[in-house]
Amino acid sequence: MGEAIVVTSGKGGVGKTTTSANVGTVLALQGKKVCLVDTDIGLRNLDVVMGLENRIIYDLVDVAQGRCKLNQALVKDKRFECLSMLPAAQTTDKTAVKPSEMKKMVDELKSDFDYVIIDCPAGIERGFRNAVAGADHAIVVTTPEISSVRDADRIIGLLEQEKQITPPRLIINRIRQHLLKSGEMLEIDEIMNILAIDLLGIVVDDDGVISSSNKGEPVALNPSSKAAQAYRNIGRRILGETVPLMVLDEKNGFFHRFKSLLGMR
């Protein structure tokens, strides 16, 4: 029996889809059987980021409404045998699927896969409730901006009310070193102080993320990029390893303070 992890944020455009694609990819790289689930019905784009758009025949709404079997809707990745995707529908809206139907699909997937990664749409309404319905764990993505942190806090409050989900873990995305240095960006420890949940990883702002999404090739596959290294570490932490945070700034190594957050003394 595998486990289902929902990737969510509240605010839009902070990197949920990018995170889902890359976390799924690094887990597949480690040989795990992974299924990515796009619950952003009406605004799907996980398929584009994964470069699998042209392989879609059925989608999650077809499964929910009984037009096909779950297996028939799964799209196989072109790089990894062990990686699949359940695409969202593009032509309907979020009310086309009920949370109970979503949970049934995720439960079925869990019996076939080690990890089911659920890409959640922005917002706190139906789409969010669909995405969390079958999840066992949650990853909250935020950027170092006040509005994004505020929405992450709201989402964490909602996730804490979902009894079946373990305490959510945080990924801070799009850290920009020059802004961090000049004090124009929220510091990591300020964010951690407010959100007070475990830190799963920090991903730098990396142009490589955008160019590789455009190519339909998750950045995690390009080992020379900083973001790829961060996603690989996140993957290992999900698998239960203790991996130190990358030191982005060698000189004063400001990440040493967060070791304790990752369970290291």
Binding site: R150, R154, L158, N193, A196
Partner: protein, 230 residues
Amino acid sequence: MSATQPLVTMKGRKDGLVLVMDEACAYRDLVRELKEKLAANTNLYKEGPVISVKVQAGNRYISEVQRDQLKEIIHSFDHLKVEDIQSNVMTLEDIAKKKAQEKIVPIARIIRSGQVLSVEGDLLLVGDVNPGGTVSATGNIYIFGALRGVAAAGSDGDGKDAVIVASIMKPTQLKIGQVISRNENGSVEEMKEDHLLECAYLDEKIGKIVIDRVHAALKKRNLSLVLEKL
């Protein structure tokens, strides 16, 4: 009932006058005799300083209306001032209300954006109130953590004596009784440098909410009484 047994007994004390009332007779007889007795003894308090009066009603329930009436009667004599009307009897309703107000409600969690926590009595929160989160209590609020959101103490309307204490005081808004202060220049009178454990209270002289160190606030207010309950 024998006519020799008085319904109202007047006792002079160093610190004022004590009126001991019979607890078994009809209330209207009590009122009649009170008026008579006070009128008969005006020579005691015709002039000179104000004399404070304590009424001891014993095991008789005195309603709000009756309380006001007794005060009115006594105050119709110039130099008398009612200090207290004591009765051993309370209604169940009063007791329930009092109990709820004196209760300390301990809660350990983070109040996150969009969440509201309201309690009757004093709130003892172990955890933070994040921006966008709200806590309110009919009594006082004690936060062992950071207050970054909204806190409303004395929320049943006339709780202007309520206080808000927090380990880290960085509120977006404070409300005590009916007075609101936003975290903008001038709306909160901050007398602090950078201390842990700060206390916000309503300074009625300036009509503003003041944030001060706990022990400084303690001196100004009768906070020790409040904190004793903890």
